[in-house]
Symmetry: C2
Subunit: 382 residues, 2 copies
């Protein structure tokens, strides 16, 4: 059995017990709320992780690229929502997945995209009659894409899709939840996401259009929603690993974070209190997601090799293959860094943003204590 000590660095570690706890916590919460969970696989991009989510009770998956849809479909996941507005150039690939048996749902928020899909469906009808289901994206927080719940445009898009037999429902993602502070604000944001998306569904139904699917979600709103009447499913992604941004929001503790980057000390600048490691931004990503939070974690929070948080130590600077670990209190608080962190010392670093950090790596070393239980590949690209 491979041991932690055998791994080359930098390496992406997945703490297996933490992963299982995170999957169980979210599934249990969704079961309690009485909604289906459709995990977003863009965080891990890993078949083994998604299989664990499915085994725990998840129904279907969410993807951020058609490449993910293709990879997961090839591995037997056949109920897939592609949650990024469908570009016209990808309509052919979407229909191809459906033709091969994938229950694919795609997303639009414009008449132009709806018209292109309706046109493709009409062409397709002449041959086989299969088409993706289409969800209209709803803007519930002014944060990114989507149609306002009260906009006349919603009914126009709905009608165009309905006439073509494509309309399956509405979906939203409340990215503004990442900027909420405290439980009360998160609960309020979850309710806003729910209420506005359900309102959009009601408007479609009042117009005589079908709207069986009402899909909402983000990790913070999923975990802080008090109840979800009118919602049929929740999508959430980063909960599967958690990260420091989530910890900063109060969604988890640093000790819940399943993903970390194993690094090695390669040098020091004792006068500055610096510990240089081989975990630079190529290993951590350039994500500085905690920069605007109350506690800026730099490029990551430093733990010992076993995963115990070293209070006050962060990767404060990063170059491509150099991390600079410093104590928040500066050189005085750092003390004798050469004695505390000799060259060759191995550290784990918890990431700001699991999606971004994981994307820098080709696989995960799945660890339990000192044992490396498996290497799970992840994929990337488009």
């Amino acid at each position: 059995m491979t041991q932690l000590a055998d791994l080359d660095t930098p390496a992406a570690l997945l703490d297996a017990p933490r992963l299982d706890r995170a999957i169980g916590r979210m599934q249990q919460r969704m079961d309690t709320l009485g909604v289906a969970l459709r995990p977003h696989v863009k965080t891990a991009k890993c078949l083994e992780v998604a299989r664990r989510q499915r085994a725990a009770g998840a129904r279907g998956i969410t993807v951020s690229t058609l490449k993910e849809a293709q990879e997961f479909f090839a591995a037997g996941f056949d109920d897939i929502t592609y949650a990024v507005g469908l570009a016209p150039q990808r309509i052919g690939a979407a229909f191809d997945l459906v033709r091969r048996g994938c229950r694919l749902k795609v997303v639009v928020d414009s008449l132009a995209a709806a018209a292109a899909l309706a046109e493709a469906a009409r062409r397709e009808d002449a041959s086989e009659g299969l088409r993706p289901e289409v969800l209209v994206e709803i803007d519930t927080d002014g944060h990114r894409a989507g149609v306002a719940p009260e906009a006349p445009l919603l009914i126009e898009i709905g009608r165009m899709l309905g006439d073509a037999g494509l309309l399956a429902g509405v979906m939203t993602h409340c990215g503004a939840s990442y900027e909420c502070r405290g439980a009360a604000a998160l609960e309020a944001m979850a309710e806003q996401e729910r209420a506005r998306c359900v309102r959009a569904a009601e408007r479609l139904r009042e117009a005589g259009l079908p709207c069986p699917i009402v899909s909402v979600g983000s990790t913070p709103t999923a975990l802080f929603a008090r109840s979800l009447p009118g919602v049929t499913e929740v999508r959430a992604g980063v909960y599967v690993f958690y990260d420091l941004v989530m910890a900063g929001l109060g969604v988890c503790a640093p000790e819940d974070i399943a993903l970390s980057i194993l690094s090695t000390v390669i040098g020091h600048q004792p006068d500055r209190g610096w510990v240089l490691t081989d975990g630079g931004w190529m290993a951590m990503s350039r994500d500085r997601g905690t920069q605007a939070q109350a506690l800026d974690q730099g490029y990551g929070l430093v733990c010992d090799e076993a995963g115990g948080v070293l209070e006050g130590w962060i990767v404060n600077q990063a170059n491509q293959e150099h991390g600079i670990v410093e104590h928040r209190g500066g050189p005085a608080a750092a003390g004798d860094v050469q004695r505390r962190f000799p060259i060759g010392t191995r550290l784990r670093v918890l990431p700001n943003h699991a999606c971004a950090t994981a994307a820098q790596h080709a696989d995960y070393a799945v660890v339990e204590g000192q044992a490396v239980k498996a290497r799970w590949p992840r994929f990337s690209g488009w």
Copy 2:
């Protein structure tokens, strides 16, 4: 012949004429200064790019990981400097490359690392007698790693390496040049880098130690150095593509940048003046290197599909697979974004930091006008 219009998005484009001009400019400058150019291949991580640099006159390459060293050595590059402090765990892999015929140079800045190398060399001598050459890293700007030029430690490390027959010279990288403003500051920083590194070499020689190699470099100092007496070679990386950080320093113009990310418009928020594209941070990286510069370029400067800069338009926000293109002047200046950038419109985006953006992609589409001349793979990982 594949055309630009045939490419799926997002995709990393390399403008072939710009690439050739960048390679030619740096080589000519180094020829004029009378020093060897040893390009840092960590920016492109691409054999075809390095072959063009070699064909233009580069002597040897610089790498940031042993994986790069192994890949390039396997492709016939046998003069390689691994410019990140050697971790003890990698000594075996370094000796292995040497044993197979690679003229590998490695870097240390501590007695601990020097001692580990000397010990390995003594063990090795019993068998084959081959060993890497070792450069002592010099800190010329207080920016990252290295020994101060005047430190007693320099001579101690030099002696330990010299006694083991390993000492080959000194090297430095003046990363502080990335924070310089204006030509005068860059020229001064180039001279500081040169003078302090040459001083370290002189101290070693005064102590009776060999120091044939004096290696300095960063793209800004390489291009702004007035003269380089005492220096034997220059290392520079990002010049091969340039990027917006370099443009912000005055090292190049945006129109010199060879790397761009082709993206497709997938939606709008007309009231906010937003154009949504499929070029999110997964395609651009999370690098916000221009944030602290005079002109913050967001996640990248927007060009039309042919590569012409669209003045005032930047990717102002990014999620994993969504870019939000906005005009600097806000919604009023943006005008009718649906008419100007209809869904399906294709844009090129110039990156802040070529090393980080390129690392998000598995290959480059090499373009000349509308023609895609080749796909060049790049590698990643450790």
